[in-house]
Subunit: 255 residues, 4 copies
Amino acid sequence: MDDIEVEAVAEADLTDPVFIEGLPGVGNVGKLAVEHLLEEFEEATLVRRIYADVFPPQVSLDDGVAELTHAEVHAVETPGDGPDLLLLTGDHQAQSNEGHYHLTDAFLDVAEEFGAERLFALGGVPTGELVDEPSVLGGVTDESMRETLEDAGVEFREDEPAGGIVGVSGLLLGLGGRRGFEAACLMGETSGYLVDPQSAQAVIEVLQDLLEFSVDFEALEDRAEEMKEVAAKIQEMQQQQQQNLPSDDDLRYIG
Amino acid sequence: MDDIEVEAVAEADLTDPVFIEGLPGVGNVGKLAVEHLLEEFEEATLVRRIYADVFPPQVSLDDGVAELTHAEVHAVETPGDGPDLLLLTGDHQAQSNEGHYHLTDAFLDVAEEFGAERLFALGGVPTGELVDEPSVLGGVTDESMRETLEDAGVEFREDEPAGGIVGVSGLLLGLGGRRGFEAACLMGETSGYLVDPQSAQAVIEVLQDLLEFSVDFEALEDRAEEMKEVAAKIQEMQQQQQQNLPSDDDLRYIG
Amino acid sequence: MDDIEVEAVAEADLTDPVFIEGLPGVGNVGKLAVEHLLEEFEEATLVRRIYADVFPPQVSLDDGVAELTHAEVHAVETPGDGPDLLLLTGDHQAQSNEGHYHLTDAFLDVAEEFGAERLFALGGVPTGELVDEPSVLGGVTDESMRETLEDAGVEFREDEPAGGIVGVSGLLLGLGGRRGFEAACLMGETSGYLVDPQSAQAVIEVLQDLLEFSVDFEALEDRAEEMKEVAAKIQEMQQQQQQNLPSDDDLRYIG
Amino acid sequence: MDDIEVEAVAEADLTDPVFIEGLPGVGNVGKLAVEHLLEEFEEATLVRRIYADVFPPQVSLDDGVAELTHAEVHAVETPGDGPDLLLLTGDHQAQSNEGHYHLTDAFLDVAEEFGAERLFALGGVPTGELVDEPSVLGGVTDESMRETLEDAGVEFREDEPAGGIVGVSGLLLGLGGRRGFEAACLMGETSGYLVDPQSAQAVIEVLQDLLEFSVDFEALEDRAEEMKEVAAKIQEMQQQQQQNLPSDDDLRYIG
């Protein structure tokens, strides 16, 4: 196998497609969002598999049948007036520093091959606390893109996220911008502690507005409901633990 | 030295050989199984040594004579009606993520060179507790292979092993399947804490059935007996420690 | 993207330019120094951006606009009689052992391209305690350079810094010397615990003397003042903690 | 710079030279031994410097003059009847798994270039306790070499050292043997806790016998004496600490 191998599974004739990435990351927001789109656009076609020696040396088993770790690109011909979509997802980020660069370049090759000129990298931005109504923060390759995104509800905050954007999402903007793509990162606010379907929904809602498509959210809302129950239980347990701890008053006489 | 070097030690004229891998791993099940086959098929011929810079930078000493870390492939012309065998074993897995991919590709080259079209990757699957009668779990490159394996006693469980199959065993299926090999992984249940000859025997018994050969198990059974004694002593020590700990009753009045 | 990519942003016609490096390091002394020079020489021109897959896979955001991690070289035509300057800075060192070598080679290519024959690598040397009047220690590629530097106040101490000079600064001397550059490292003493603008100033003062330019230090002095207040607060907190600890006298009866 | 660069500093016309390696390792035995030989054979000529991007990215300073990390090969025309010597030493092992392989290959290239057909890799073998009269253990590329070494006092013990020989010393045998060199590893017993000049002397004494040269040991003996004092002080401190611990009797009533 070459270091990176792009397998052509099928072809698709797309009109002005937009490339959307959702690999694992904070709160799994990006991956949840792209997987939800794949479920809702039932006619999505798997067009490319990307194998790479910077993915973990691993197969997953589906009913005992092994599948080598890879990323996948699906093509979606959207029903409305909006552009067609190329949806990238997978189970892993690259396992090395250099790997992130080379893998992102391969993803951009696929985007280019299908004629995509616009990219969206989806992800989460950790807030450190549970978020009731997650905002969606943005990053862009060109200042001219900000206004359209702001109109769709995306917020641009000074120095946020603090460390910039890392991994494939960051490099899709960094390398993509240098290769002439118009790329944006949409980051849903999320606690950073739990998988966050609600944040994924917030990100998709922005995409809906920007790309003129419309999907149902019932599945995501159900999962968000489940996660809220999980979060409530965790909070309850934490409060009980705190009640069992000595209060500040109790500690007053110590040291 | 090249990054990977395959040394041709001898040739062998094999009929429809099956390639069987047993490198170190959980419970050393795969390595024990292949080493047992090598001991029982006394006429095994060492045909290839595989050296690689992703193996540890190390020589082992045999009576003071140094041997560079490598993997070995032996050819076995089986006496019965079953296919001939190519047995791969060694003391190490690759030391890097990419190394697993490149090493596995080199192993597949050897399999191809000798005309093998079928592969078995042998290993263990950790259960976290001592296992009396280890089952053998399976993974395959193609669904059509399941029935034959199930008839030989292999179990296919949904979502097991949970993390898929990692290392060279996983990639023999992942990369092997992509190169057209019919590959299966046979994983003996094992505690994960101890070297497990009994699990190795269970795996070989499946192979015997599938490949129509027959070997003696006395050596493995002796080693399994020894390991059972070791396990019993460990359990005894753990029980003594637990008796010295305060019981739940004792703890009732605390915090 | 290639492993390392040098982007030509602009050209500059420089007279006998001197290449000065200030990447992140101990006390951020080198980076602070070069950034201060860039602020004071207002007419600095960005001439090269250096991208590399050994930088972190990351973009920073400036008002929401993404910028791929890179190092930058600015050209400065100095007003006085001194040589022109090429100023290298950036937010990151290489992330791998080999990366430091390859990145430094790329920096030396840029220096060569602009006709630089002399290099200064700026950095800090950790003393482990707060320093009132930081000395500047030196390292050179050729003994003949020592006298000039000593005349400018640089100290050469036997076996200091103890571990030699690591990272890009070290390799600019190590690889630069082998390529025929006359290279020196100027290391301002610094505690090693805090960002140190005062040490950066000490380093620039040496450069001023050597390269016959003159810059204002108000901005650095203001930042140094702030850092002194931070240091004073930390010392105060430490003293309070120590008062709460048992004294040696109290401990006399123990053990 | 290439990944590995061999700089020809001088040439030497040697008769049947023997290549001897002493890089840092357990007890620094190998490095001490080769450095002692370099001091005693005053007419040693530096013939090759080996630079590599798998060495740390670092320069050392000698009176302020920077020297890029490298390994060195000196040629020694011995006065007696014995063979001439090529002495390899340096401050570092490779920093990566693959690096050990590639670096060793480069060292073997140098040995070959000078016509060496025999190699000695010098090192220490850790015993875990202070050793009064260190034995020298051996490893060889070919069984035929054992008798000569045994006659010179080298011991070959079954399964010792337990983990084989790692790093460049191991690979000089592993890769060297494959390239047709007659290579041996001489490992002086050493505690593993301290730099061990006495063990280095034991190793050199074997070499003296094998290669018919003779050196003075005063410098090594002086250093060994110093290290014995250091070891004695450490033992004294440990004994005092033990006396301050509660005895088993004191503990009898606890738990």
